[in-house]
Structure formats: C-alpha cells, structure tokens
Symmetry: C2
Subunit: 395 residues, 2 copies
C-alpha cells in the first residue's frame, strides 16, 4: 500500500511510535482512530486462556461502538493475572486521555511474548508523543508497528461502489506463527467509511473470518490474543446497510476479499515459509467433511515438509485425508497438485512430474467423489526457518 | 539387547535378509516364527485409508491364532489398490510355503513409502534364503530390518515369574515419524512364551497400547500401516491366564512395561529429535481432560521448538493447555519443568532458571488444580533434523 492520498480512508487516522517494548528503535505502539463514533464488531480467540486485552475488548464490544484501538507489539499481556487486566485498563484510560475521548470507546490489543508484565512506564512515556503523530496517511506504518515475527507489513485496500458512492474497506493484519484454524488470527484491524448497522457488521465480519482467518494454518497452535476488529464510521453517508439491504452482499464480498487477501499474505509470510499452499477439497458429502479433510492436509507436517523439499510424496496427502475423520472411500478419491494428476480412484498416477512442488504457489486439489460440497484451507510449507525462529524467540 | 542365550524367548525364531527393497545391502525382509500355534492379538491404525497388509491382518486375526509374521521395510504397500491386496496375499502364501505352515496362520506387515507397488520379484527371490536364516538368537536383527528412518533398533526383554516359572515378554518396534496418538504406532511385534487365553491377550494388549503407543506423539500424522501384534505360544506351560486369573495383572503390567519402554525409545528416536519429553497433566477433573491437555502440549510445535532451543518460554505450554479443550481455570493451574516452578495459580514464577530445557530428558508437569485425574504423553523436540529427513524421504 502506497502512502498517498488515494489510500486515505475518510475519517480514520493512524499513528505509531517506538516505545522500546520490542527491539529498541522499532515501532511497537500504535493507534487507530476514528474521528466520529464508529460501529464496531469483533472476533476473538476461543482459547480458554485469554489475554487481558482480549477479556477487556470482549466486555467492551457489547456496546457495538467505539472510536479507537490502542495496540502494542513485543508483549502479549497474557497469563499476567489481575495485574495484566489492570495494565490493559490503564493503557485504555491513558489513550482516551490523550485523544480526549471516553475510555469506554477505546479497544486494546497486545501481541508478543506471553507471561511477562506489560512495561507500563514505557507505554506511559510514549503515549503523549503517539497521539501527536495521528495522520490519515499512516496505516501502513501501523501495520509495521504490530509485527512480531512477520517479515512484511500486511495491508489491503479495496474500493466499492455503494449506491453510486465510492466506499473504502481497508484492513491490516499481523501473524506468522501460532496460527490455528479454530480462531480468528493473531491481530487484524479493518476500517471502513461505509455506514453499516452494528449487528449487520458483526454478521458480515463473522462470515468473512469463517472462510479466511479461520481456514488458515501455520502451525497447530492457537494464540491467547487473537483479535479481529472492524470499525465502520459511516462517513460515506450511504443509506445504513442492514442484513436485508440490497448492498449487503456487496459489502460482505468486499470484506471477505479483504480478510482472504490478508489471510493469504499471512500464509505466504508463515514463519520460515518458502511456499504458499492452498488445499482445496471438493466432492465431499458435507462442507464439514471437506473442511476436515482440507485441514488435515494443511496441518500435516509430513505434507508441509514434502512440499518444502520438492518431493512429490502424495501418499502423505492421502494418509492425511484418511485420518481427517471425513467420510471417504479410497476407491473414489482423485488427487492433483498444480494440475498434475497424482492419484485416480484408488490407484497412483503414472508419470508424475518430479517438479510439481517446485513453484512458490502450490494448489492441492482432492476430489472425494462423494458429493458436491467443498472447502479451501490456506497454509505454507514447514522449513528449518520455522524451527530457527521458534527455538529462540524469547531468550 | 545382547545376542546371547539369556535373551531367547522359548519357541520363537527370527530371521532377516536384504531383499534390496530398501537400500541395497540393508536388511529389509524379516520373519517372526512360533514353533507351535500361538494365541494372537492385534491393534491396527484407525486411519480410514488402510494399507493392504493391515486389511489382510484385520481379517485374519478373527481366528485369534497364528504362527508367523512376515514383514518388509522400504515399501508400505499402501494406496496400492487391488494389486496391493493381491501382493500381500502372495507374500503370505510364499512365506507359508517356505515355512511349511498354513497360509491362514501367517500375518503380514509392511512399512516404507506409500503408493508404490510392492517389488514382488525381489520378495519372491529373497524368501527361500530368509526361511533358512531362522534362529532363536536373531530378534535384534529383525528389529533392525524393520527400521525406516529410525536411528537405532528398538527391543525390550522382560522376565516375569508366573506361578514360580520364569516367563518372558519381549517386544520390538519401529517408528520415528508419522506418529500420532490416535493409533497404535508404526510397527510393533511382541512375543511371549506365557500361555494366555486369546481374548485375555487382546484385553491386555489394548490396555498396554492405550497408555503407551496411543500416548506418543512425534508429528501429527497417522500412518496407514500401524500394526501392533502379540503372539503368545504358551510354551511356559503355565496355567492358562484368563481375565480372572490371579496372574492377569502381573502379565498386563509386564506387557505395559514392554510397550511403554518401546514408546519411550520411539520418542527418544523421533525424527531429528535431541530430547525426550514427558508431559504429565494431573489435577484434572477427568482422565479425558488430563489427556486432552497433555496431548495439546505434546503436539504443540511451539512448545517442541522452545524445548529444542533451550528457551523457557512457558507461555506456550499454558496457551496449549488453554486451547486443548480440557476444562481449566487459569487461576488454578500450576506448571513446572524438571522440578522448576514456572507458573503458580495465575502468575508466572519469579527467578525461572534459564537452563530448565537444557537436559536430554524433559518432564513437564501441569497441575490443573481441579480434580484427581492424570495422564502422561510422550513426545520429543522439533528440530531442523525433522525437516531435513522429511523434506527428502522418497526422492
């Protein structure tokens, strides 16, 4: 995303600074600010151990509205007990004071190391400077500030016509590991100037997340901090979109496009990843079966290492489908990778090209031959890089 | 296990040769032979895609008896369609012919690459020589012949007194990857000279497997070929052990000891592993909860890489317990590793030693503080070695 006037989202401002929480000198504290009260919807981790900021947001979002998100990287404020909750509340109060808004309209998110107290003095010191940085051009900088092991900042910007007016849906995300399908993702913030009724916003967000962040696997770990928040400030002054509006589908499609694009960026930037993998399972009896099979393949370390090693070891894909729990019949399954047939109804294909896994983008397609339902899951290959990153993260 | 007369299991003979299925010159075809008809019990993969030898054994084991197991490494005879089943049957028939026994009394197992036809001509050529090699001293050689990515042969030998007589329970196993808890293990064969009634043998085997091979995680993949077979030939001439025998518990304990010891060897020899990890979850409301939590920790790539990297990143352990699905209350959990307290009822411990993960044997203990049930799961660390082995296995 370029830093120019064409990527402004009307009514939203962004700021980021270095508070020395992460690596000294690297930006790690950021604000997303709406000039007026926006409708807000959110999806949070389903981990039973939830970080303090997540607990605070879950309570706050019952109001369905808000004006700002304060977010830090470098410390997750998770497994920090009562003090953690106090720190999250203080962070919100200080932010509200700097912005001159109600504390009840500020959401908070943290990402980074688990189990260490939030360095409140650093945050207290950095906040006044942060509020002064607010600019409508700085979304990309905020996307950088929320990174942990990400190698690039992830932003998506989409324009859609709503009743003749050009509305904007823009999103950012961070996440490269600890990403499991049964949750949102690490952190993603989406802003739009389109006016959307709060419960409709919630519905559209859940739909979008279900087929994007919830169908994304890097490792099999689920974070304590996963948060997706959307703010819709209505500055476009379109007729309020509700579940029955003719424009609802258009809005949901744009939002889904934003979240799917972000999910794809996360998969491509998976810790140590060299390849983006899309697993498509079709011909299933139910969508649940298709999803189970696709997830098992995307979650198989053996499949992911084979793809990394350019090894057309398709038996591992089939074995994963076999243990996925999906209803299958080996004699009806067909399997291909990047349009090369690997297995056809019970028998391995002849003359399989050796180079099917050599590209940067791998598409694995399995047809279970039992029905018409399908599902798609995103993942990446598993490499020595993942081990290196995660064997030395805190110390 | 030493090759001497003290490790003879009365009535059993073993043989192995190189049939050039695996690496030329390496042993890859083996027989386990009982001089008389033995009671047989088995546990097999729950993968819906089952290799041909597994399908054949599942049918055969309904007789609860047998005299021989023929096993090859280098080729799994899985995903090989009707031809695969024909090949498994032919392998059994040829073996029976060489041994001069009924084909119905021969079990078969294969391990290695999935999806390639079994090289029947090589097996046909090697079998006559194999039968001539039978010796009561060669169990360790058979354990070597069934290895794939294993770095050492795994055998366990136990003596137990049954009504004053010294009985033997001996087992071997192969397996270093594709090992997931919802199954037996790759291959394990156990022999005993103790007389056990077939259904009792089945019960004891299931009990032993449940807490050993079924609580062992290397990666999250489940093989198509997993097979555990036990043969009890009764040559000890003890009074037949039934479920109500006073000696039943003693026998089950010995068998459990053999399978747990083998499981521990498999974890220690996990592909690329440098450390053995035992995850103990206690204080759970139910055993199922304890097991869920222990499995989530043992299956977490982030926990396994942290241990590899000597990084006391206990937040990852807690996060895994949180998403395990077990009933928990963060404020009641205590966590320690190798007797060093990490987390105590909602708060991280102070002064955590930096070296808690530096030993070769790591014991992680989590007390959920909610009840009295517990479970133990075995695993190993995740290293660049795992990636290297699995990125280049077939090609």
């Amino acid at each position: 995303m370029q830093k120019n006037r064409s990527t402004i989202i009307p009514g939203f401002k962004f700021a980021s600074v270095s508070a020395n929480i992460k690596t000294p000198g690297k930006k790690d504290l950021a604000i997303i600010f709406s000039e007026n009260v926006a409708a807000v919807a959110g999806v949070f981790t389903t981990n039973r151990i939830k970080a303090a900021p997540v607990m605070l947001d879950i309570a706050r979002i019952k109001s369905h509205k808000g004006r700002a998100i304060i977010v830090n990287s470098g410390n997750a404020n998770a497994c920090t007990g009562r003090q953690g909750l106090e720190d999250a509340k203080t962070m919100v109060k200080l932010t509200a004071g700097e912005l001159g808004i109600e504390p009840g309209s500020v959401y908070v998110a943290s990402t980074g190391v688990i189990g260490r107290p939030l360095p409140m003095e650093k945050i207290r010191t950095a906040l006044p400077g942060l509020a002064k940085e607010l600019s409508s051009l700085s979304m990309q900088d905020v996307a950088s500030a929320i990174m942990t092991t990400d190698t690039f900042a992830k932003t998506v910007f989409r324009k859609i016509k709503i009743a003749g007016k050009a509305g904007t849906v823009a999103g950012m995300a961070k996440g490269a590991g600890m990403i499991c399908p049964n949750m949102a993702t690490l952190l993603s913030f989406i802003v739009t100037d389109i006016a959307v009724e709060p419960k409709t916003l919630d519905k559209a967000l859940r739909q979008a997340v279900r087929k994007s962040f919830n169908r994304l696997i890097i490792d099999n770990d689920m974070s304590t901090n996963d948060t997706v928040l959307i703010m819709a400030n209505g500055i476009l002054k379109n007729r309020l979109i509700t579940k029955s509006s003719p424009d609802y589908d258009k809005f949901e499609d744009a939002l889904s496009d934003v979240t799917y694009s972000l999910a794809k960026m996360i998969a491509r930037d998976g810790e140590g990843a060299t390849k983006l993998i899309e697993v498509i399972v079709k011909g299933a009896r139910t969508e649940a079966d298709a999803e189970k099979a696709a997830r098992a393949v995307a979650n198989s370390l053996l499949v992911k290492t084979a793809i990394y090693g350019n090894d057309p070891n398709w038996g591992r894909i089939l074995a994963a489908i076999g243990y996925s729990g999906a209803k299958i019949n080996e004699q009806k399954i067909s399997l291909s990778a990047n349009n090369c047939k690997l297995f056809d109804k019970g028998i391995g294909a002849k003359n399989i090209r050796k180079d099917i896994f050599s590209k940067k983008d791998i598409i694995i397609t399995a047809d279970l031959g039992l029905g018409k339902k399908e599902a798609k899951v995103l993942t990446c290959d598993l490499t020595e890089g993942y081990i290196k990153i995660n064997a030395s993260y805190t110390t």
